[in-house]
Symmetry: none
Subunit: 197 residues, 4 copies
DNA sequence: GATGAATGAGAATTCATTCAT
DNA sequence: AATGAATGAATTCTCATTCAT
């Protein structure tokens, strides 16, 4: 049915198909058969590469978190002033980058957040990322002069998650392309007037 | 096993058990048998009162939305100035009110948001509520002098959803009791300095 | 497909079908589908009455052990002298009683012994029965004057199991109807000459 | 993964791994992958050397039977009197000989006996061995003066199998090292008093 | 000889839903 | 209204076996 391929290639292919299906129908309805069909593979082969369905979810979560972290790190490194860094953070997390293939990421991430509610392993990875993100925001805000960076970091993190969630569950409420601007506005308002100069 | 009871009582009992189970294990693992057990009923009886499992979900969503709307309306009516109304909104949605049993479960709402991603009927109710909430925020912010009430309303709505989501999926990140204050802070910053008087 | 029946009736029916299939094809090939077919039921119904396949095995083991113990107790109670009791034990365990419907028991028991090798729960029940049987033999032999009842009890127990095993795995080696006589011969030889009077 | 090796070496290696796994988990759970892992080989290579899984079982049974027969023949040849030959038989079959790796696993033989119940090919080899063993006992007992060597041979054979079975399924019931003595005792009791001289 | 990706035919188990009682 | 036995379709996962490389 399919050509031979290396494990790495197949795993990536399966995770990719899983993301697509996950966004469409959610975790539980993302059956192995459906994932396999989406990937053009047989169910048996999916299980040859992933012992359990949860492993595919784990691989996806790892991939998304790794990708986000890379975007964030890269954006921070490229920014020159503390205030620029705050802006860069907002952009890295929310700007719709046409070059980025993972437009499906917000929806996938929303589904993952839902799974985190009930799967300990998913929650662990999810919460670790949330904490890291919050801490990154806190550092950037402190450097930029936020008088209460801890509170600002929680606001920023919740806003990112909330905007992702609204995009997935109530499309139309968030005007496409406006998300990063909204977050930037909230964060700018926290910084001292001179800091924006 | 149980006494005869009216349909209304039984339906409420089932919806209540469903919320509990939903929070614990998520929608798909909330089997009819489990819901029935949690309610102290038999599976057959659950289906006597609800033709399909999705109907129970629908009843829960309706109940939560109705409850939230009542809280919001009541809070708005009780506030005297425009700025008070903005504060009252934040409190109604995020303050932990021990009397409001249906707000004590951000997890249930998070699960519903996840289901909204894939069930048209749930999404319809969810999105209708989100739009109503956004519009309520927009009105309150406009009255209080927000120069861009539309943007502020989206920020507020996303923040509410994001704080619910974090509470459910990454417990510990949002300090209990602080949520309403965070939202108030963000909204106050949008209003003209004199508006707080 | 089938009439309604009580849980007790259905469970007995399933265990019975399981014994038949177990004897024919062994534990692993005794699939739920096969058991269901043999019982004239649907696979779903089998799982409605037994959560796991191992539970059916457990019920069968319990049933056989209970039945054997009843036969043994009854035989011992009916015998009048110590030597008669030894004979009665041999007969209760090995005589082919045309009235006893469980001619399939020896083969089933052999299969259970094999499972005991690898399933802890089966081994526990199996070993408990073996120990009880050995102790019963030891008591009877001591009363009848065996100079080393402990050794005699192990010999008797091993012989019973060995004769069951040969009957199942190498039919024809043990002449039908001769098993009880063989065991009686071995045990009689252990007893003092006067004891037989 | 491994060096090239001759077919004979590989087959022996695979059969050896199979015995280990068989004892641990039984025939059905002894998957090709597991056997391969135990042998330090790949699944594909196992099938290169054995067309079917059953063939590995066949090779193991052949090996064990051949080894037992050699031990028996050797023991008989070394004994000088008819009564010694009876003793030697018991020892060859049941004495724990550290040098005989293929006798150290009564569990393997018990598993094979269980398989013999349902696989015609295994039953053929198993039954052939049982018959040969019984005949060997019959000859030895007749020579030593047993008045009913046929019955004695069945008793001896069943006792050997039963002691193996108990050792595998109810460890602790048979005192280690006592098995051969028990069998010798039973057989000695059958022989005329003067025969032991 | 050796590898390991691929297949496909089951396997146990789950569960919403039905329905006779 | 209530019960709980019954159904059947679906689901995850397993594994002997094949075969291109």
């Amino acid at each position: 049915m399919v050509d031979r391929a290396s494990t790495d290639v197949r795993r990536a292919q399966i995770v990719d198909a899983f993301r697509t299906v996950l966004v469409d129908v959610g975790y539980d309805a993302a059956t192995i058969a459906r994932i396999a069909r989406a990937a053009g593979l047989t169910p048996g082969l999916v299980h040859y590469h992933f012992a359990h369905k949860a492993e595919i979810l784990g691989a996806l979560v790892d991939g998304i978190v790794t990708g986000l972290r890379a975007r964030v790190d890269h954006a921070l490194a490229a920014a020159s002033t503390p205030v620029d860094r705050v802006d860069a953070l907002a952009d890295a997390l929310l700007a719709v980058d046409p070059a980025a293939a993972d437009l499906s990421t917000p929806s996938a991430w929303a589904a993952i957040g839902a799974e985190a509610t009930r799967r300990d392993d998913v929650r662990a990875v999810y919460a670790r990322w949330i904490v890291a993100l919050r801490d990154t925001f806190a550092d950037a805000l402190r450097d930029a002069g936020d008088p209460d960076p801890a509170a600002g970091a929680v606001v920023a993190t919740a806003l990112v998650e909330g905007l992702y969630g609204l995009a997935a569950a109530a499309p139309g409420v968030v005007v496409p392309g406006s998300a990063a601007g909204l977050l930037r506005g909230v964060l700018r308002a926290r910084l001292p007037a001179g800091g924006a100069r």
